[in-house]
Symmetry: C2
Subunit: 225 residues, 2 copies
DNA sequence: TGTACCGTCTTGGTATACCACCTCGGAGGT
DNA sequence: ACCTCCGAGGTGGTATACCAAGACGGTACA
């Protein structure tokens, strides 16, 4: 039990970042994270490197920093994701079996549990599961990476019951097009859904940036600029 | 100078893998790599984690192993790359300025230096540079990742002067279509080029697998199966 | 001769000591 | 009062000691 299992440190840090327990832009020190994670520097360091790959943590010179909310990055991720998901769904139409499509449909209908968190989780899971059905792990991993990078901002889009209902409806339409083996329609629906998400999300982000900053979060236009 | 600079360990290992100095499928031990890299376990370990992210190294249980040549992975990467590059070039047509296009064209014409290595390097660089011109770093990094994963097999495709000439011609046609701001043609050319590369590369890989295995390389159909 | 068991050795995982660098703050001089 | 310089503390980077678990081989027994 002296072993903290480096997955634990990673999971703890990741959860802390995604829950805004560690704020966007906040400076991190390897030693300072030891008490939080209950591990020593070695696993903390490994976790930070993994989180850097996921884009949740960045290097600021030599120092570590929770990645700020980067509007340009969000925009770029959404653009990239649109291409990836359109390509993936075309493959899904070709390759997915009935069982896979049924599993995908299960993500859409969750009449019992609801609320923003469920909408957020299911939304991400749906898109990753869709990409996974392409049978190509690179589509799945690219989608997973995109969803991770969007995790901290996507809740802005699923706050209202109306938007969650719209997302469910669009997801359902995508599943139906896949089940009907209608590739052009599936691709068009995915592209439209991506574009809608992009516009709404970027719009909300611009609107809310002051409020987010007021809560201590770093929100930048373009960190690479 | 007691510092080995963990970039050095990473670069050394990466070069050793790409040059087949460390053979595909070969087992690695962190301590065993200390003499090769001239660093201690800590930077070696960091390098291995980075290489794992790039797909050049894998975990086999707890152990490290140079990723075997995986035919299914190569196929999947090429499929993913086709989607990414098609999406990227569409953006390039929209966004690239004359300077960027000129720089891209420079990658195609290298009358002095030649040979398989140059063809390999330029080929990868061309595609990464093209993706970079999209202005979206995620397209660029996805293309870079794809080219890294293909590094150890792509030389099979550029062995003959004929294939190198064909690649140059196709690259040039892509640049011309981009310069002409002809998005449909650029996308079609990129897709055709990707498909051709995929067929030739997978074909050569199937042909040569015995020879590669004879040289001590692990060549598997699908490591995830 | 074959098989099962046990010890040894090597592996990755972790904790930690040490190092060079850099930042920040205080003291002293102008 | 301000500016400069120096020193102390903290940072990531590295090397290394220690640990538990697994692999391998040899030995003893059936």
């Amino acid at each position: 039990m002296p072993q903290s299992d480096d997955r634990a440190a990673y999971a703890t840090l990741r959860a802390a970042i995604l829950s805004f327990d560690l704020l966007p832009g906040e400076a991190l020190s390897e030693r300072g994270l030891e008490p939080l994670t209950g591990a020593s520097r070695t696993p903390v360091r490994a976790a930070l490197m993994r989180l850097e790959n996921e884009g949740l943590v960045r290097r600021d010179g030599r120092a570590w920093r929770v990645s700020p909310i980067d509007v340009a990055e969000v925009r770029a991720v959404l653009e990239f994701r649109a291409t990836v998901e359109a390509g993936a769904v075309a493959l899904v139409v070709e390759r997915a079996d009935g069982e896979g499509i049924a599993a995908l449909r299960a993500f859409v209908s969750h009449p019992d549990e609801d609320g923003p968190e469920a909408g957020l989780r299911d939304g991400g899971d749906f898109h990753v599961a869709l990409a996974r059905l392409s049978g190509n792990p690179f589509f799945a991993s690219a989608m997973d990476d995109a969803m991770t990078r969007l995790s901290r901002t996507r809740w802005l889009e699923v706050r209202t019951e109306q938007s969650r209902a719209q997302a469910r409806a669009e997801h359902l339409a995508i599943v139906d097009a896949v089940a009907a083996r209608d590739a052009p329609r599936a691709v068009a629906l995915v592209s439209a859904h991506s574009a809608g998400t992009r516009d709404r999300l970027v719009g909300f982000l611009e609107e809310e940036r002051r409020r987010l900053r007021g809560r201590g979060m770093a929100v930048v236009d373009d960190a690479s600029a």
